[in-house]
Symmetry: C2
Subunit: 234 residues, 2 copies
Amino acid sequence: MGAFRQIDISGAARPVPVDTVDAAAAGVATQSPLANAVRLMGAVISYARNEEVYGEDEPAEFVYMVIRGAIRTYKLLADGRRQIAAFRLPGDVFGLEVGESHVFTAEAIADSEVIVAKRSAIMTLAARDGTVARAMWAATARDLVRAQDLLLLLGRKSAQERVATFLLEMADRVADGEMIELPMSRQDIADYLGLTIETVSRTLSQMEHAATIALPTCRRIELRNRALLSRLNS
Amino acid sequence: MGAFRQIDISGAARPVPVDTVDAAAAGVATQSPLANAVRLMGAVISYARNEEVYGEDEPAEFVYMVIRGAIRTYKLLADGRRQIAAFRLPGDVFGLEVGESHVFTAEAIADSEVIVAKRSAIMTLAARDGTVARAMWAATARDLVRAQDLLLLLGRKSAQERVATFLLEMADRVADGEMIELPMSRQDIADYLGLTIETVSRTLSQMEHAATIALPTCRRIELRNRALLSRLNS
DNA sequence: CGATCGCTTGATTCCGATCAACAGGAGTGG
DNA sequence: CCACTCCTGTTGATCGGAATCAAGCGATCG
């Protein structure tokens, strides 16, 4: 069992509300009616690295959309073991709950900008506009599909397979060609994949030796053999 | 890596459509507008033990609600490793997808009765009735919360903790007092908890020796020390 | 330039998987 | 009814992959 790991909150809470912004100008493509609603009714807030966006069991007063940076959502066990359920990247909506409180904690992985909209306003809009209601459902369903893929990974895949799956997922989401710029630390990856930091590091090193990937820096990964990774992904 | 495990389909497909039934009489309590809609618009179909209800990637033509018995939904890896994502028990709605196809396979664990309703009919109703639309969202969100709890279990809990969590979950869902009547086999439990059948069996035996539980038969489990199980549940 | 933090690498341990044998129970057919 | 088989579950012995313990490296920052 892992020992308790202290998670330090280096950045002080420093919300900087701003009026409605042109999020498209901020690099977020127009997507669903939900994303549009959040964009129209929300304000931009900046979060420093490791700053908490909201905590587990807090009332779910707001809905969020990432503009810049990255957010992790996770649960903790009493002794500090952590499971990250999702990484939220620019364009992702998160914190949307059916119930009255959040089911996990959300924290900024890097300095980030997030649009924050009143949940009550979104819900009111959804009651009037069926396309918004449906987009909310679709967003929850998308999270569910992601979670179910992660279940299979955590329950049944080997360390190599987990890392391969992770790399391909990140390639889909943040890659510029074959080059991946990771926003998160090894510890975050480990807590997402249900491994230890050492195992993640070792596995990446092995893949580098096998020329499956290249590691120019520890936050940059170049895929050099996608076919092999896909085979490991099962 | 686990070897390929053959999953035999002993019961032949034998759908027995029936007109709208009084599901309350069948022991299912009235719940959400969604459950009511499925009940009103569906037909009862019987599935034999191990019979497939639907397969992964099949078009999602129907929505289902369990009346009697139990259903497992799962994903497979290419070599046969299996991860069960959920057990569906009487009253549970499943197979509700936002997209056009199912994201995993559903099979009867025991001989079961399921109400089957046309997805298109439910969707049409949801477009007219916001409470149905919201109930569909709520059902998906409930699945998501369950999946996220399972993520923490699969990623970070020990075998003992997994079994303890499972027992408490089943106690909540099917227990008559402290006595649990399991509908599923050890293999199903193992594939739900990300363990092997041997580890599940051993862990249950240990708990019996510690007088935490009693095992009158292998499908019946009596909780004798819920406090201890809760502590293991973290 | 030293300190700190994040990452990598090596040595060893340990939990759960694997391999193997057997027991109990249900169903089948004589 | 019993003998047989099949299936599920239990238990024991051993193995192995990832965790843990430990050391050192390298980049970033004050």
